[in-house]
Symmetry: C2
């Protein structure tokens, strides 16, 4: 067994699915596995240990595993602790690294899932060669990553790249984080649904409301995009308002970091054809001095469903010396 090749494992814990994979020193994916996500810190620890063991044993004849990278949604600090996770059940102050390292017997590196996705985009996605960038994931909530000089910035405590709770409207609705008027209330999947319900409350979207329950409450983001695809002009207007809010937060991120590229990932990117061009147009309206600066490229993420797990593996590869 002494001449086995070195490798690392990466696991991305999503809200419903958890994806694990193994990469070699060149960053090639050797094998991949998807499990349903368990709920609560203890069950997630157990799941991570079991999935890592499963991946390690399946590759054991040819590869030695040198480390484990884990990506999670929420504020992850530089000690490998998930400090605050509004979108996971019972996972605040979850000491992922300290709980997992004794179970798996190898170094465990933990980072935010959007930071992991940004590593994947830099390595093999749309951001290969990008020096300064911002990655934003638009899903149920908003995740983010700041790229400076070709690398993901962790910040002082490991928590850089969390733009979802930037305040963009002091009169805005209450957020899950306890504050009000956060960007995430408008520019996420939940935000699109909110904008749809608000439009319905003022009497728009009558035909869409008819197809759900006769009331605005059940409206979800996918109802808006589906109606817009079918040519409903009021659904199209809601989508445009949504794209404006997306671009407001992108402009706020860009004002501080001056990126050459903004990468948009997350579930909403499936409808890129509907809102991508609108986001590009509005960004030029709300970015200060847009006509005096090079155009910022706005691109959909390209590393696919396994981006988070690949990025977590790349983090482990960097930190264990698998990649120079």
């Amino acid at each position: 067994m002494s001449n086995r090749e070195p490798s690392v494992i990466g696991i991305d814990v999503g809200g419903t699915k958890t994806l694990g994979l193994v990469i070699d020193a060149a960053g090639n994916v050797l094998l991949q596995e998807k499990w349903p996500t368990r709920q609560g810190a203890a069950a997630v620890t157990e799941m991570l240990a079991e999935l890592a063991q499963e991946l390690r044993s399946r590759i054991a004849t040819t590869h030695k595993v040198r480390g484990l990278g884990v990506g999670l949604a929420g504020l992850v600090d530089s000690m490998g602790r998930l400090r605050r996770a509004p979108n996971l059940v019972d996972a605040d102050e979850f000491a992922v690294r300290d709980l997992l390292e004794p179970r798996v017997g190898m170094p465990v590196l933990v980072d935010n899932d959007a930071n992991c996705a940004a590593r994947a985009e830099l390595h093999a996605g749309v951001a290969v060669g990008v020096r300064h960038g911002v990655l934003i994931t638009l899903g149920t909530g908003i995740g983010g990553a700041l790229i400076v000089d070709g690398a993901v910035v962790r910040g002082a405590a490991g928590m850089a790249g969390e733009p979802g709770h930037m305040l963009v409207d002091p009169a805005g609705p209450k957020c899950v984080c306890g504050l009000s008027g956060c960007w995430e209330r408008y520019a996420s999947g939940a935000g699109l649904a909110y904008l749809g319900r608000r439009a319905a409350d003022r009497g728009d979207l009558a035909s869409l409301v008819g197809t759900v329950d006769g009331t605005p409450e059940p409206i979800r983001g996918e109802h808006i995009t589906r109606a817009a695809r079918l040519g409903d002009p009021e659904a199209s207007a809601v989508l445009d308002e949504f794209a404006w809010w997306v671009s407001v937060g992108l402009a706020n991120c860009a004002a501080m970091s001056d990126p050459e590229m903004i990468i948009l990932g997350g579930g909403l990117v499936r409808d890129w054809d509907l809102f991508g061009p609108r986001v590009r147009r509005h960004l030029n309206e709300v970015l200060v001095a847009a006509e005096h600066r090079p155009e910022i490229r706005v691109e959909p993420a390209a590393a696919g469903e396994a981006a988070g797990a690949l990025g977590a593996a790349l983090l482990a590869a960097d930190e264990t010396g698998l990649r120079p």
Copy 2:
């Protein structure tokens, strides 16, 4: 003359005053000179060339000048051009470096004045040893700098660190930049005056209004701070609202960059005792998950009036190899 010591010049072009100085390889200030700022790109070029020549001739017996660093308010790109300068007269698309290099016969490095101030704070101010930080200057407008891994980030086009025009209120007042609801409309010197006039319009600040002109229009920021110092509770309330808006933008910057320290500079820092503690308190209210992360230190700038010129000189020192 062949054994003269190497040195560089730094000049900071302010709205009314321009300060130039010379530093040696250790960063010591050898001499300093202050001139009134001339208006318009051609006159500023002339002034910069003359001031550089004056400084060079005064130090000529002992020091050879290797380069010139220039700091200016506005969006400066990595080619040494001032692309957009809303607070200077007739200075958009001002090719500072290309106009000045033939005049002074040495390398000219140009950056935003707040980026320069951040270099000075890192070198000899409150941010010595800081790895991740944000510097914000609160003056007539708002300037900024992003510090990652101990260095000022220029970004893709050189324009990083311009948070003044982040949108923080879609219902907010029109901004000089052409957009509406920018942070600068609330959290700058002009913003403090606006908040004061708004309070007076709704009937507050009656005794202050009596001291100016009997109407809200002439209210300026210094009227508010003076009245607050004299114990006017309504002026104090305006100052608290101002501090809340300052903290909103700081929290937005911190969400993306996770700084260990936020440095506040600019003219408003003179009244630090009045609003510094309020900004610290509000930041803990509006920063997402503040209770799950290390406290961000908020400190007044310490490098003084010459910070911009010193930072411009440090930039020139770095780029000409005077500093390793």
